[in-house]
Every structure is written in C-alpha cells, then in structure tokens.
Amino acid sequence: MTTLGVFNYWVAVVLTMIGLYLVMASDNLVKKLVGLNIFQTAVFLIYITIGKVEGGTAPILKEGFDVYSNPLPHVLILTAIVVAVATTSVGLALVTRIKEEYGSVEEAEMRKQDEE
C-alpha cells in the first residue's frame, strides 16, 4: 500500500473541490446541503487517511497483533459524522421553513421575491 503515496489525499482534495462547487454553483438549497455533505466527507477522508498505519489493524486490542492504526482520528470523525447528520437536519429544517415562506428553494427566486 505504500506505493499509493498521496493518492488518498488527492481524492480528498478532488472531493473537496466537488463539494465546494456544488455549494457555490447550485441554486437549489437542498443541493447545497448535499455539497456540504460531500465537503465534510472529504475532510473525514483526510483524517482517517492520516490515522492509517501501514500493516496495522483496527484499534481493538487482541493478543497476537502489535501494530494498530491511530485511534484518535477515528474518535474525532465518529463523533463528527453524528454531529454532521444533526447539523444537516437543522439545515434541512431551515430549507423546509424557507419553502413554506417563499414557496421556493431556488436562490434566484428568493432574491427576486426579496427585491419586490
């Protein structure tokens, strides 16, 4: 696996770019949240990749295994995933309320209504 070098980091950066593009370029608020989710997982990927140790195994102690991957990034990302779904649901709740007030979740349409 050492030949991979920085492959996972490249993937994480590409995913970051895709997520950022979705957040910025899409007009629909739900799709923006999807973009944010992609962005988040890209960050998670960097963390977990850093935690991986060549030849290591999952950090559950057992006789016969000496090399374990770093448990700390796992802990941080595990909680981050659950917090991510909690914050995503707050975002979705806001989007739903916006739909009820404006009748639309498209940014351009909302701006038009605000200017009137």
């Binding site: 590409v14 950022l20 700390l72 595990l78 709740a93």
Partner: protein, 187 residues
Amino acid sequence: MDPPKGKRLIVDFAVILIPVLLVLTAAALIWLHNLVAVVMLLGFYSLLMAGLWVILDAVDVAFTEAAVGAGITTVLMLAAVGLTGQGERPGQGNVLVALVVVAVTGGALFYALSDLPPFGAADAPAHTHVASRYLGQSMTEAGIPNVVTAVLASYRGYDTLGEVTVIFAAGISVLALFSRRHGDRKN
C-alpha cells in the same frame, strides 16, 4: 499476523477502486438535477465511504457512516425533498465565480499536500504524540479492548460531552423550527 496473499490483493485493489468510484459518484451529482436521484446517489456515496473506512482500519467510523450517512441522512434528505419539490432548475447559479474559487482552493490544497506525510507512514507526526499512550495504556487504565471507545468515552470525555450537547441542541432546534403549524403567519 499478515493476512493471506489473496485477501491482500483484494484490499490493494479496493483501496484504489473505491476512491475512484467516490470521485465519479460525487462528480455525477453536479450534472444530476433530479433531487431524489441526487439523494439516492449520496446514500450510495456514503456506503462506498463506509467500505473505504473498513479498509483504512476505522471500523467504528465505518459502522457510524453506514448507519448515519447511508441510512438516516438519506431518509431525512428524502423527507425534505418531498416537502420542497424534487426538481432543481439547472444553470441558475454563478458557475464562473464558483469555478474560479474552486480552482484557487484546489490549487492551494494540492500545493499543501506535499507537506503531508506519506500514506501509512508509522512515524508520521500524528502517531508520535498521544496515540501510543492510548494504545499501550488503555487496557490497564480503562479495562476495555476497543481503544476507540476508551478514547471516546474516557480520555476525551469532554469532547464527547460537547458532541452530545451539539446533537441535543440540533434536535431542539429542528423541533423549534417546526413548532409553528404549516400556513401560520407571523402576527
């Protein structure tokens, strides 16, 4: 204990294949304008991610991702799409500005990558600080074999208390946002 050669090959193959599929799935979201399809694809993306976590030894994270990312998030997103309409109007946002910002950000990140330690290096800075203490002492100090749980609940209990508070606050926020009946106007 090294895994057998055949298993090793599969893992080496999957560790390339899954990231490639991840990028393809994420990229497909850009051109997809039916939001139900977008949400389903996001669920697939999360499931792929869970597979990648297993390969990268993060089994607890994989478990969470499969249950939360592929499960709950998809259901909640579908519920929200059902309430807000599933059609996205394409080509409304400012694509040019977005492309410039994404290119600059991506360039900066690619430039910064050269400073990161190589994948899987055992002497990376992340492994030389507290990780060895967790792996070496948690069995005698906390008495449980799953180091992730020991760190989550004991060594970094403050962190987890904070996370639980965030989840609590998020739940209360959603209920507060939805406390007004549909159609009620401010009075």
